[in-house]
Amino acid sequence: MTTTEQQGTPVQEARRPGIFKRFLDFTGAENLSLIIALVIMVALISTQTEFFFSARNLLNIGQNMAVVGLIAVGMTVVIVSAGLDISVGSIAGAASVVCALVVTHLGTVLGGVVFGMGIGIALGLVNATIIAILRVNPVVATLATFSAFRGIAFLIAPGGRPVGALDPTLALLGSGRILQIGDFPGIPIAFVILVFVAVSAHFVLSSTVFGRTLYSMGGNPQAARLAGINLTRMKYYVYAISGALAGLAGVIVTARTSSGQPASGTQGLELEAITAVFLGGALLAGGKGSIVGTMLAVLLLATLSNGMNLLGIPTFYQLVAKGLLLVLAVAIGQWRLARDERVQAKITAGGGTP
């Protein structure tokens, strides 16, 4: 038999990449379709309404992205690790209430933020314990805590009602803007927080030992364990991060509505975040996904609802459109995967492995 090896070339010396290549490297080839979709959508919407390109509207989009964006960053970490966290919306609800209670009773905004994120981390650790120690499947585990944490949010809110938290400093986090110069309406602080978190997360996932280990563990947990990775410890980190970011999202909900909301404003966030992560190119099986892709998808979804709102299209159509978009994105992903498998099968057949 022949021993044809795949593409007989040895490792090539690194060439200096062009600007387009470098842009592609950063966004990833998979994300190109997201960018194209975004461009087409923006083009379509802007021909229909002039208001779309106004600075105020663009910043609105940015503001609206913040809450779901923060949760989507955490969800990316979870999904790359081959897990899932359905409880994030409920964690955000609990964090929103805790933040409002701390701000009204202790009068400290910083305390509100710290305690809001703290309860998020605590609930995330509960998720991790159920998943890593009790060995419950992540979907089932967080489906259970999805319900339980929402209940906790109502229980800690006195009378189960929203907790008013009128604090001007806190309100800045929700609707404040920086760089308000002249006509420029300024950049929403919540959006700045999202950008900071997303950039940090991108750095962590691409350049740290934790991030790279995360991809290995998600890609093949068994192989990762045999390469010396402590899966239990990793899961604790993963769900703590997801909880912390959900907590931060809850704090921003409190800041924006000036009240701790056990339910309103945080319901359905998990589904939107999961949609964004898959739209951004992650695999449910784990090991694949990026912050850049997720953020592009969050932007795409926010632009879609904003544009449809501006055009006066009823919410029902928006829901259907989001669903279609997700199916399309995942179907394209599956098609890519099947194509890769065919390539692999061909190599195996030619490469001399029975």
Binding site: M1, T3, E5, Q6, Q7, G8, T9, P10, V11, Q12, S207, T208, V209, F210, R212, T213, Y215, S216, G219, N220, Q222, A223, A224, R225, L226, A227, G228, I229, N230, L283, G287, K288, D340, V343, Q344, I347, T348, A349, G350, G351, G352, T353, P354
Partner: protein
């Protein structure tokens, strides 16, 4: 072409896989009322032949005749309809349905209105249990998940015998049975023989073959080397026919053993092992032979902390190591390249560079941040040294060929620089060229003072690459055989436990 009394005739059958000729020119016959045994080493082609007979694989050359008519066996269903049945070594039992349903799965007897006729099903199965001498061994209402291995085997046999059977094949039927259960099985086989069925009996246990078979067909490297009447042969004759192969891609190893003991295992006991003790010295390659299922892979995993150790000690360079996880093992300077590299070795969806550097991230980082230059300057020379053929280090490992994938796993452990490297079937599903390169690499690593524990089911590999060979059987080990004393015959005797019952 087919003789009237032959119920199964295999004529000049050949089967190739890319890079391997699994069977060539195999001809044999099974007559009515005859028990024919297939024997051969791991990989001699027994399973391939069985899989062709039961329709899992399609033959490339030759033809099959069942009861005088040529059959094509395009699918397992065709084989079943033609009258061929295989009793698998590990039966597929559906867990939460009854024994009776398990026997009839897929073809339930029906009452009008698409209702399943449970009463009829149970009556038939009870009747069969009585007819075949399994009465009282199995409750037809018991659920699949409550069955013992022996009971599962009975269900599998009942499935095979249900209707229209002409030839029945048993694949290692006694591996999960006690002596008494095995005796019952032999009674059943004798009964089936008197009913005029053709019976194929595949087993490593030669004393059983001598007891139950009328004829034995010996396979070696996919070629039949003997077709003998049991009455006119002996176990020694059979073993002689199973071995004696040329060291085709034999690799001459350089002698590099030293006196420094790297691994010392003392009285290791676990769920799979009883009281195992051995040593591996620096610069030495110790081969682990034995049959599939003898506990070799499990031994590697216990030493590597992936499976639980019950008692006993593991010393690395004289120091007792408490190894509770693979991470501990890596800390203790042990590396492990698993047998199933796709399931356990590689992250297929990630790149070459990630797969190679994975186990040593901590060494390549400062304050938890990976130094990209350090990663590249570590991986790049390894890719060159092992000649991993990939367009770039960012290539997804899943897209590489088997040989290159194996080299990626090896590169990971070269990067980790362990003192003890455990290789489980290092050249499985690897083409000939890559195989030679892997042998050369192992030789070099040993020369550099690494201790290597090599598990292999390939006799030529064991004989040419090992300095000493330890044979395992049923979770226990033989005393090490020095290279000069090792022959295939000696190893097979240990592996089969010829002299034990």
């Amino acid at each position: 072409m087919s003789m009237s009394s032959a119920i199964l005739e295999v004529h000049a059958v050949g089967k190739s896989f890319p890079g391997v000729k699994a069977l060539s020119n195999v001809s044999m016959q099974v007559h009515r009322g005859e028990v024919v045994a297939f024997v051969g080493e791991n990989g001699a082609g027994k399973s391939t032949l069985l899989k062709i007979l039961c329709g899992d694989y399609q033959l490339d050359e030759g033809s099959l005749f069942l009861d005088g008519t040529e059959v094509s066996h395009a699918s397992p269903l065709d084989a079943r309809n033609a009258g061929f049945r295989l009793v698998r070594q590990e039966p597929e039992i559906v867990p939460y349905i009854s024994v009776a349903e398990n026997v009839f799965v897929g073809e339930y007897p029906q009452l009008p209105g698409q209702r399943v006729d449970f009463a009829k099903m149970r009556a038939i199965v009870n009747g069969m249990l009585k007819d075949y001498g399994f009465e009282g061994m199995l409750d037809v209402r018991a659920l699949g998940n409550t069955l013992s291995p022996a009971q599962m085997h009975i269900v599998e046999i009942l499935r095979a015998l249900k209707d229209g059977v002409k030839v029945i094949a048993f694949d290692e039927p006694t591996s999960s049975l006690t002596k008494r259960e095995a005796d019952r099985l032999f009674d059943l086989i004798r009964k089936l023989r008197t009913q005029g069925l053709g019976i194929i009996y595949v087993s490593h246990r030669l004393h059983e073959v001598m007891e139950i078979a009328d004829r034995v067909v010996v396979l070696k490297d996919g070629v039949p080397t003997g077709d003998l009447k049991i009455a006119q042969t002996s176990q020694d004759d059979i073993i002689r026919l199973m071995v004696g192969r040329e060291l085709a891609h034999g690799y001459k190893r350089t002698e590099t053993s030293t006196d420094r003991v790297v691994l010392e295992v003392r009285n290791l006991t676990s769920r799979w092992h009883k009281d195992i003790s051995f040593q591996i010295r620096a610069g030495e390659i110790v081969g682990f032979g034995g049959l599939v299922g003898a506990g070799r892979t499990e031994l590697a995993k216990v030493i590597f902390g992936a499976l639980a150790l019950e008692s006993g000690t593991i010393r690395i360079c004289g120091e007792v190591k408490k190894i509770k996880s693979p991470a501990d093992a890596i800390q203790a300077n042990i590396g492990f390249a698993p047998e199933d590299r796709k399931a356990e070795g590689l992250i297929l969806v990630r790149s070459v560079i990630e797969n190679v550097s994975l186990a040593v991230y901590a060494r390549l980082a400062r304050f938890g941040i990976l130094r990209n230059s350090a990663v590249v300057s570590m991986v790049s020379p390894l890719v060159k040294k092992l000649d991993i053929k990939t367009p770039s280090m960012d290539m997804v490992v899943g897209k590489l060929s088997g040989g290159n994938q194996q080299k990626v796993v090896l590169a990971r452990w070269l990067a980790a620089k362990p003192q003890l490297l455990i290789l489980d079937e290092p050249t499985r599903a690897v083409d000939v060229g890559a195989k030679a390169e892997i042998y050369k690499l192992m030789d070099e690593l040993a020369a550099d003072g690494m201790a290597i524990m090599m598990i292999s089911s390939e006799m030529p590999e064991l004989l040419s690459m090992s300095d000493r060979i330890i044979v395992m059987r049923d979770g226990e080990i033989s005393s090490p055989i020095e290279k000069k004393d090792a022959t295939e015959e000696v190893l097979l005797n240990f592996a089969l436990g010829k002299n034990a019952a």
